[in-house]
Each structure stands twice: as C-alpha cells, then as structure tokens.
Amino acid sequence: MTSAGLYGAYGGRYVPETLVPALDELDSGWRAARADASFQAELDELGRTFAGRPTPLTRAERYASDKRLYLKREDLLHTGAHKLNNALGQAVLARRLSKRRIVAETGAGQHGVATATVCARFGLECVVYMGEEDMRRQRPNVERMNLLGAEVRPVEFGKRTLKEATSEAIRDWITNVETTHYLIGSCVGPSPYPEIVRELQAVIGRESRAQFLQAEGRLPEVVVACVGGGSNAIGIFAGFIDDAGVRLLGVEAADAASLGSGNAAVLHGARSSVLSDADGQITDAHSISAGLDYPGVGPEHAWLRDSGRADYVGATDAEALAAFRDLTRLEGIIPALEPAHALARVRELDEELVLVCLSGRGDKDLAEVLAQ
C-alpha cells in the first residue's frame, strides 16, 4: 500500500472534510501503536486470556473425504466469530486516542456483538446501527447486544441491511467525531481503516500458517474464505500472500458479488469494486447471509483480483445452505451462513490440501435456516 492509502487504483479517502482530521489522527495513532511493543503485547494478552487465541485448526475428514481439509476455527473465538480480533484491537486503539464513545455498523450482528463486548469490557459507550431486516433475521445477536449494554439503533430506509447501517454509522461519526471512534467491522471504508482491519485480522493467517505446517509439514495448496467486506479473508490471506505457491480463493454470495460482477465505484469512503450501475449509483445486493449482503468490498481485494494474486468465485444461497447442513451433520460443527459459502466451493477444487477459514458459528442463523 502507498502512503495515500491506495491499493493500486483502489482505496483512498472519499469522505466529507469534517472527517479528514479524525482520519489523520487515527492514522498517526495507529502508526504510533504499531511502533509501540506494549500495544502488541496488550493485544496478545487479551487474545490469549479474553478472546481464546490461538484458535485451533481442525481436520475435517468427512466433509470432503478425498481432500486433506482443515478448518481454522474462528467460530471458537469468544463471541463466535473472527470479528472480535478487530473489535479488540480497535478498542485498545480508541482508548489510546481517548475516545470514550464507539459507533459501529453490523449486518449479521457478529461485529455488533464483538463491539458491544469490548465496550462492556473497557467501559465504553456503544451505539450499533443495524438494518431492520437484519435485526429480524439475526434476532439472537440483537438480544446479545442489548444484554451487553449497547444501544442498537434500527435503520429503516433503503434495503434496511448492512449498506444503510454503514451509512448511518458514518453519519453518526460525522456528527460526534470529537468524542467518538468509528469501529468499522470490515476492511472497507476510508484509509487507514482497510489497513488497520487487515493487520488486526492477520493473526488468523499467522496462526493457521504455523498450524498447517505443523499438521502437514507443508503449506496448503489453496486457502479459502468467504468475502463480505473481506476481513476474515484478508486476515487469513495475509499469512500466505508471500507464498507464491499458495492459491488464495475468496467466495462471495452469488448475488452480492462485488468482485465478481461489480464495477470500479465509490462507496463508504473508498474506491473499490462495487455493485453499481453505469451512473455510479449503488445497486442492491441479495444474500441469505446478512454478513455477505453488502454491495461493496475492501479495496485490497479489488487489487488482489486485478493483480491475479487471488481468485474470487460465488456461491448461491442454496449451495451455502447445503454446505451448512453437511458440515453440521458430517463434522459436528454448525457454521455461520457466511463461511458456509466458502465451504460450498471446497469439494470441487482441483487442489487436495485445503485450508478454510471457518469465520464464525451458526447459532445466530438457526431460525433463518430452519425456516427454509
């Protein structure tokens, strides 16, 4: 990445002037934290004693019996998804910046729960924006956020999902920027957010690379992850990006395929590959999985796609549901619907040695799956 927050022609800062000083402050606060060994030490300690790191690597023998398939178990992380890695890191950063109020957006509710959790842990005020449709389909997570003391604000316009929730969280931040840190949930948004989220999620890639080497004595041939905004994918990819022989494969929801069918466009503060029309207006995404139901994606993924370093494919709602059921029955692991998209593409891969990021657990999705 360049100093201007660019990944090739993607990224940047397309934000109202009001936010620019806060982004500059965040950028220098982040660089100071990274240079400070006590910051990393605090994150490591929290990861070990609060979040449950390292998460295990599980061999899944029955799901794809002709492969050597391993699952990186972010579903076993505290709060049930990889989102906590980012929320913890940004909360520590927010404290260093003396911000006592946190706003966040959430789709599946996993990022909202992770944010509400770290705010409870550190005594920070927490407001989470969530689309009404997502509040309906991810009810258990709304209840968890409420219990944790967060205020969940319903977003009632547009498609009432993650895109609108993100816009409202950013508007809140514009209005309260002096006191508030915006704890964005994926590797999207204006610079430096994509870099911060990638670095905080890179622990997934670091751990799983070492674990895979230990288990197999060699690296995987392919690393597979679902892509909504792209944070669990960029986190696990980060561990293998310099290993030219390891293929990186992102799986999007078929009707929310920002990388598969998007155009270069500007959304939520960055230029990336976005579902958008010829006039630059953002078009609707659709997915059974609230966490993938987003028309944008992190700018680094657009760049990895263009450079050919990573490949991106789609999985339909039906394929994800089938993978959800199969993993449950064959491995005794109930995955979230988001990583079920990654699992849906595993069996047909040419490669034999496969690592999948199991980004979260499926408790939140039971009502939605059982209703199908």
Partner: protein, 236 residues
Amino acid sequence: MKTLIVYLMSGSETPELAAAAVEGGADLVELGFPFSDPLADGPVIRRAAERALGEGMRTVACLECLARTHELVPNVPLVPMTYSALLEAYGWERFATDAHDAGASSMILADLPAGERPELKRIQLVAPTSTDERLRIAAEQTDGWLYLVTVTGTTGTRTGLSPALAGLVTRARAITDAPLYAGFGISTPDDARAAAGLADGIVVGSRAVEVAEGGPDALREYVCTLREAVDSVVTN
C-alpha cells in the same frame, strides 16, 4: 451585500423552482445531483435524492436540468453539488466539461476533501474540525469562494445557528480573502440573519428542499424572507 444561496435537488420541476428562488432573492443556486448513498446528508436531502433517483434523475438528466435552469436564469451562477461516485462513473474531466457547457459556474463535491484531485476545480468545503493547515489548503485550491460547514455534522435543519461558526469564520478570515459562505443547518430567517452577520453569505439547503415541495410560489415567498433577513445585516 451578503450573498444568498439556495440548494435544490434536481428534478423535472427544478428549473421553475430555481427561477422562483431567484425571484425571491437568491444570488446563486446549488443543484443537487442525487447519489444513492449520500454520507454528508441528513434525512431531508437523502429522501429527496431517493425520490429524484426514483424519477430517473441520473447524471445526464441532471445535466439537462442544469441546462434548462441556465436558460431560465442565465445570469445566476449555478453550482452542481454531488458525490465522487457520479464523477467516477461519468469521467471526472468529462463531467467538469459537460457541467460547464450546461451552464455550471463551478461544482461542489461533498466527499472529495481538499488535497484530493487538486486538478479538479471546485468549491472547497471546510468544517469546524478542519485544522488551520487544512483551511490553508482548501483556500488555496478553492474555486472563487469557500464553503464553511457551520456544524460538525450532516446537512439538515437544526434549531438555532451553530455556535461553531463564529470561530470558523475567524480562523478562515485570518487565512484567506476569499468570500466565506456558511451552510448546513441554516433554515429560519433568524438563523440566516445570525449567519450572515458572521460570514459573507449563507447557503440554505434542507429547509429549501422541504419548502420547494410546496411549489414555486411557496419557495419564492420563503426565499424572500431569507433575503430580508440577510439584507437586514448592516455591512460596512
């Protein structure tokens, strides 16, 4: 004389509305080109944008609306106000050229802060959170006048003038001789008078968009009250 600026969302009736605003005393008209995800806008302009898009007000239709408005009020500066996404799709230079050809005197991009794409001539916005260094960059790069965002926040009506404006005017005045026009959150004649007492001019957006729903006569009358308020400020 203080400058009075009225913001209207592009639409089929906008040229006539703009003409009414000018009859009521507007010196300049901003024309919103709607974007589906307008981060800098509060509910009134967001909803107006949704309606406009629903009626087919895409970039080409907005440029036509601009051209028709220019025919009706040829001597009044017209300034499209929009978002980067539209220019990214249309072509940045092509947009600047076509907007100019349709009668635009400049443009405003709500999400392209000073320092980014300096080659694109536009009116720069500054906010209460802007550092003096950023005020300086914006003043150097701006096209004619500087847009002072009165509040830390989005567009939308508020009660009373933002207390942050006075400090922002003082800081900006120390840096530049460019005219300083204040906008965001100004809706009543009282707000207009108070803001015009501090800045060289004012911009009224959300409230004008709401009043414009009542048609040209209602808008003309409303803009008249703003004009009187602004003119009641003694200039020296």
